[in-house]
Symmetry: C2
Subunit: 328 residues, 2 copies
Amino acid sequence: MGIKIGILGYGNLGKGVECAIKHNSDMELAAIFTRRAPESIKPKTTNIPVININEAKNWIDKIDVMILCGGSATDLPEQTPKFAEMFNVIDSFDTHAKIPEHFNNVDKAAKYGNKTAIISVGWDPGLFSLNRMYANAILPNGKDYTFWGKGVSQGHSDAIRRIKGVKDAKQYTIPIDAALEKVRRGENPDLTTREKHTRECFVVLDEGADPKEVEKEIKTMPNYFADYDTTVHFISEDELIKNHNKIPHGGFVLRSGKTGWSNENSHIIEYSLKLDSNPEFTSSVLAAYARAAYRLNKEGSFGCKTVFDIAPAYLSAKSGEELRAQML
Amino acid sequence: MGIKIGILGYGNLGKGVECAIKHNSDMELAAIFTRRAPESIKPKTTNIPVININEAKNWIDKIDVMILCGGSATDLPEQTPKFAEMFNVIDSFDTHAKIPEHFNNVDKAAKYGNKTAIISVGWDPGLFSLNRMYANAILPNGKDYTFWGKGVSQGHSDAIRRIKGVKDAKQYTIPIDAALEKVRRGENPDLTTREKHTRECFVVLDEGADPKEVEKEIKTMPNYFADYDTTVHFISEDELIKNHNKIPHGGFVLRSGKTGWSNENSHIIEYSLKLDSNPEFTSSVLAAYARAAYRLNKEGSFGCKTVFDIAPAYLSAKSGEELRAQML
């Protein structure tokens, strides 16, 4: 019997978790939980129960880890504490500024229920955070850089879609090579927002909408686009569907640091991801941490944790002996 | 009072640890231990005791963590178990095939002494191992690649120096860009030894030695050079001292993996290091894990561990709260 996983929320992330379970032979999907009408959900896995979220409490003994696949804006702040009382849970909460508050809420709930919760799992926050932390601990005297892309930013795509006259849109965040190269050469540049990334937008207009107006509104939008060099392409709906139907992403975390008695030696640590599917990769990280939550709970390690608190070996299906012999 | 560190062995690695302690404000150097005549050692730190290794047992109460800076061939197999009975210890044991045996010996000793030992710390084994392991856990369906360099291989430089007619030599291991690019493009190539790295040698001859003979002997040396495209440059001793006096190194760990219901999406995880000084960077990793050993021992977590067993937060001088607020 594998680790029994429940998926809460069957959007892109939930579907990705379903695929990730298929790739991990020590896990099995137990049920999908949804706020929608269960009969409207068609899982890829055959014969898998789809259950209304309100029935989850009846599944406490049948689920080892519940992976919460909702959004950070409104779903997770409410769902993670609520479900952490009943289940071991994993979430991908990514509102950086609210992580401490979310952590405290989930910690209280998980300790109350003797459950193990791991929050903010994914690649940023998640693997990028891990790499920032390891690199900082190793090179205390240094400077951090994070670049995102090339990839689709859902938040920025949504912001364009909310503009009057826009039918649909995809926005790509693109790291600027020249800036990346400066960092790699150890120049420790101070980079403005504009110097780090450009933004490229593919926009489908409503009939009769004025492209000049829409372009201006995008390019001057505060926070989202005003501080960037932004390119806007108007394309047909067919083109958008045909050429921009994937959700790639990725990015780079670098730390440039000095060692030696007089800081005479420089070092660059670089971590990068190039992802065809942002949600499927994120889901794969969630699945690995679900294994960790399951094991930690068995050991009696209750409460809320983040990627910083989890010894790497807990993520792997291999034993300590196998890891030392094969991977060290 | 900081974490009191002892350094055992004052070669390149020991000197690197001395520098690393200077960069970590929560650590202090307590003493240097040596097999040489203590008065022959001139530490950079002022007023630091230099002690004969046989006196180490008198320092049990004055050292929180002993960092063992000897070699893997003969020093560490003997020293780490011996000192793990008396001290929390860190070593950089890097004979991959003998790690399981070394682990068992050190584990027994550390448990006997209620001490915490972390072995095989550095970048390979060490940070590279961590990245292999994380990437494997996240993308179970994939392929691993490790490239080393550009950097000085001490073992290969030594092998050249043992050839008759060679006065001195430095050997650089160089990853082949075309192979690296194939991996980055997700082509999952099967690469031979020759396709992954080239070797470049800078050799100073003894007077009267025959360069043709030496070159042939290098290029045909089994295991070390025969399977590689090797370039040999003969230079003067002055040039070697002037242009090849550093010990740079680095490398790349990549995992290429598939996700999706039918493996339809590809992902590349890449980790790389570019190091001006191999020993100083390795020492910086040792220092961070010394912090972890100190804390784990305080928590009563005894025995031998590797980087796989250490939750990342233990490496950082920051608290869990600070890490969540600043780095997640």
